[in-house]
């Protein structure tokens, strides 16, 4: 457990020292969301109507941004196989790095989403559901994204390829995340959709790191 936390802390410290990642993701999220009033027009009804979808889709795209850096640094400087030599199982290493990734991307996205929902004029009834759905959904995005990152290590056009691989797998999270918020704004219960998001997360936690570890070992062969 202490090794797990140490690895998470190490990744967080590296990211803070390098400055870019979390801030970049948040700024991108802000910018991308703010593009929509410019593109679609400022009419409040229209913006409120699309707010759920906009917030979720741009969250997906923002989550993609820092994914290809999840393993690339270690891969390029050769320290990736040292990760396999750690006293932790590789699956736990992957889980730790994914947790750090979520703390740097998913969590900030979840925290500023309500502010953006206000800007887009989303019905206030949807805010709690939005935050809950993002809390449940963004870790899954990091987990699935980690698999994509490991599969595309060393590939040509890794960034675009990562998006092609990962976005289709994101669609279920998107569907239920939007459904939860839409249910809440319509006065219905978001709980069933949130439950499915929770189930997706529970399934992703053991399965994705396992597949990601297999992909990392392939990359090292």
């Amino acid at each position: 457990m202490s090794g797990f936390l140490a690895l998470v802390r190490r990744d967080l410290q590296l990211a803070v020292r390098q400055g870019g990642d979390a801030a970049l993701v948040i700024v991108f999220y802000l910018l991308a969301v703010l593009l929509f009033p410019f593109g679609v027009g400022p009419e409040p009804n229209v913006l409120a109507r699309i707010s759920t979808g906009v917030l979720w889709v741009t969250a997906l795209l923002a989550a993609l941004l820092s994914l290809d850096r999840l393993f690339v640094a270690e891969y390029e400087d050769g320290s990736l196989d040292q990760l396999t030599l750690l006293p932790m199982p590789l699956v736990m290493v992957v889980l730790a790095k994914t947790a750090a990734h979520w703390l740097l991307t998913g969590l900030p996205l979840t925290l500023i989403a309500p502010a953006l929902a206000v800007i887009l004029g989303m019905d206030a009834a949807g805010y709690p559901a939005l935050v809950l759905a993002l809390v449940l959904g963004t870790p899954t995005l990091s987990l699935i994204g980690g698999l994509g990152a490991a599969l595309t290590l060393g590939a040509r056009r890794a960034g675009a390829l990562l998006a092609l691989l990962v976005l289709p797998l994101y669609i279920p999270v998107l569907i239920f995340g939007v459904a939860a918020v839409d249910a809440a704004t319509a006065g219905l219960a978001p709980a069933p959709h949130l439950a499915i998001l929770g189930a997706l997360l529970l399934a992703a936690i053991p399965l994705c790191p396992w597949a990601t570890a297999a992909a990392l070992r392939q990359a090292l062969e």
């Binding site: 040509r156 092609l164 669609i171 392939q218 990359a219």
Partner: protein
């Protein structure tokens, strides 16, 4: 199983089998098309548009079948390192993508007159669209590396990770209220379709299957020859290294 791993032996078997399979494909599809377009009844509700079913349903079956084959080949490749498994998976995914596209497009052409819409975001259609993108991802990933083995292994992991989508597609019409109709053929209690419609359906499905095997064998032959080509080119450049093998 490794008896078939010898490339030269595979080439001989494939060449011998190809002509028969191609002939079978032609016969099956010709018969299937005859019954589909001429000698089967129109539906009492859907009229002549039901004839799209003879393209749409076999194509959708093939989309799932080919992906299952790829998943099986990927498992064999990762677990037993069988050399032909990687090649089979890589050769199959463009064919599967083609069938998925046919299923989606023909379904859309069938949906417009029947449901009044070209598309609807229900569970069945959405998961088939995801399947199409899984195929595209597999095609891209297996060709994205300079080292073909790395590409094959990465694609194998992707194929297995995406396999969860296949049962979702199959059971989506049961688990959710969908616009797409529930299962009417592969279900407990047997098919609920008239036999006069089952015949062209199965003929087309069989014809599509033999077509898949024909094209798969052609593509596998090409992959094996391309590997040999790379080896020959390498031997010309580094004769000492090649002779050491």
């Amino acid at each position: 199983m490794h008896r078939f791993a010898n490339p030269a032996r595979f080439q001989r078997i494939a060449t011998a089998v190809l002509l028969w399979l191609a002939a079978a494909t032609a016969v099956l599809l010709a018969l299937g098309l005859f019954f589909a377009l001429f000698d089967s009844p129109a539906d009492y509700q859907q009229g002549e548009s039901v004839r799209i079913m003879y393209i749409h349903v076999p194509a959708a079956w093939m989309a799932l079948f080919v992906y299952s084959c790829i998943a099986a080949a990927s498992a064999v490749a990762l677990i037993w390192r069988h050399p032909l498994a990687d090649i089979a998976a890589r050769a199959a995914s463009p064919i599967g993508a083609g069938f998925t596209f046919i299923a989606l497009a023909s379904g859309s052409l069938w949906g417009k007159p029947m449901w009044g819409t070209w598309w609807v975001w229900d569970a069945r259609l959405t998961s088939m669209l995801i399947l199409f993108f899984l195929y595209l991802g597999h095609i891209a990933l297996s060709r994205a590396f300079d080292d073909p083995v790395r590409g094959a292994r990465a694609a194998a992991i992707l194929a297995l990770a995406g396999f969860i989508n296949v049962p979702i597609i199959k059971f989506s019409v049961d688990w959710w209220n969908t616009l797409h109709q529930p299962a009417s053929i592969l279900r407990l209690g047997g098919p609920s379709i008239d036999p006069s419609m089952l015949l062209p359906l199965f003929l087309m499905a069989l014809g599509f299957t033999t077509f898949f095997v024909v094209v798969l064998l052609l593509r596998m032959k090409t992959e094996l020859l391309a590997a040999k080509l790379r080896a020959v080119q390498l031997a010309r450049l580094h004769p000492a290294a090649a002779a050491g093998r």
